[in-house]
């Protein structure tokens, strides 16, 4: 049998396919890549939510400081889970967090939610028609974007921010970004 090794080809193909498909099984199709990574924050200019007394929230507000942009909604269960941790970050003064109140059908729902559970945000914009959410490439709430001093998106976290995410990913990144001096020599 001079070509005995030929018989191992199908087995080899099967194994390679199996490995690829196996890797495929471990990927979560809900986690889309961050298309904005390293790019400026998309331009948006959202009106304020009701009864908060702050101005709205626009992309130009993101220059000058390392910030988090958190997409939430009063209808979003995972946001409710995430919320106490954002409150904790606010109390610690860890990093300014801006909120995009996404897709509220009732304009009172967002403000009511924040009144009831606390308001961890510096600025909040109302985005009932997903204008900013689509510009950010958001697929579901909550999602949190880390934006550097120059207004460049540096990281996207899908799902609730919790202690593990904060300590292992966000905080180290924020520390690193804060050490980056802006080229104009500011701060």
């Amino acid at each position: 049998m001079r070509n005995r090794w030929l018989y191992t080809i199908p087995l080899a193909i099967f194994c390679v396919l199996g490995i690829y498909l196996g890797i495929g099984l471990t990927l979560d199709p809900k986690k889309l890549p961050n298309m904005l990574d390293g790019q400026p924050v998309p331009a948006f200019d959202l009106p304020p939510i009701k009864d908060r007394g702050t101005k709205g929230f626009a992309s130009t507000d993101l220059e000058g400081d390392v910030t988090l942009v958190n997409i939430f909604g009063s209808w979003c269960v995972a946001c409710r889970t995430e919320h106490p941790y954002l409150m904790k970050l606010k109390q610690q003064g860890a990093v300014p967090i801006h909120g995009i109140d996404w897709r509220e059908e009732d304009p009172d729902a967002g403000p009511r939610w924040l009144k009831r559970f606390g308001d961890p945000y510096t600025l909040v914009g109302d985005d009932p028609r997903s204008k900013a959410a689509i510009a950010f490439g958001v697929t579901g709430a909550p999602e949190t974007f880390l934006v550097d001093r120059k207004g460049i998106v540096r990281y996207k976290h899908i799902g609730p921010v919790n202690d593990a995410v904060w300590k292992e990913v966000l905080q180290p990144l924020i520390d690193k970004l804060r050490r980056e001096k802006s080229p104009e020599g500011g701060s």
Binding site: I13, P29, K30, L32, P33, M35, L36, P42, R103, R129, S130, K131, A133, I134, A135, F136, G137, T139, G140
Partner: protein, 159 residues
Amino acid sequence: MLKRLLLATALLFAALPPALAVNPAEVLDDPALEARARDISKGLRCVVCQNQSIDDSDATLARDLRLLVRERLTAGDSNKEVVDYVVSRYGDFVLLKPPFKVATLALWFGPLAFVALALIAAFAFFRRQRRARTETAPAPALSDEQRKRLDDLLKGDGS
């Protein structure tokens, strides 16, 4: 009677309008623009319910994307500009038909490669079989003794 019943049922189903996710209020006044919007929407994946197009999906985000598509078309964007914008936000994944580029070569040519492989294997297999058949030497002729024995056996079989 049965025929009539069947006919009635068939007519009933034929009369049902196709289920549409597109809300009548979303539909653009300009039929040409609306047709383009529908066309684009059919090719864009709803990122919430991932195996539906935004044209099919009832998800709110799909609706907002449909509105965005229509807004951009009304503002004068070409079909390609609209699709490129959505891809720039969500990546190639939102295209229900994957684009043709280096990263997707395996996707486009993989099936062809497997068919080719199967054809090659089949060709090699049949060629070897045929060669084996022709190469088999004819059975050696029976010796006299063997022939006699065979005749005896065949004769003896009848009784």
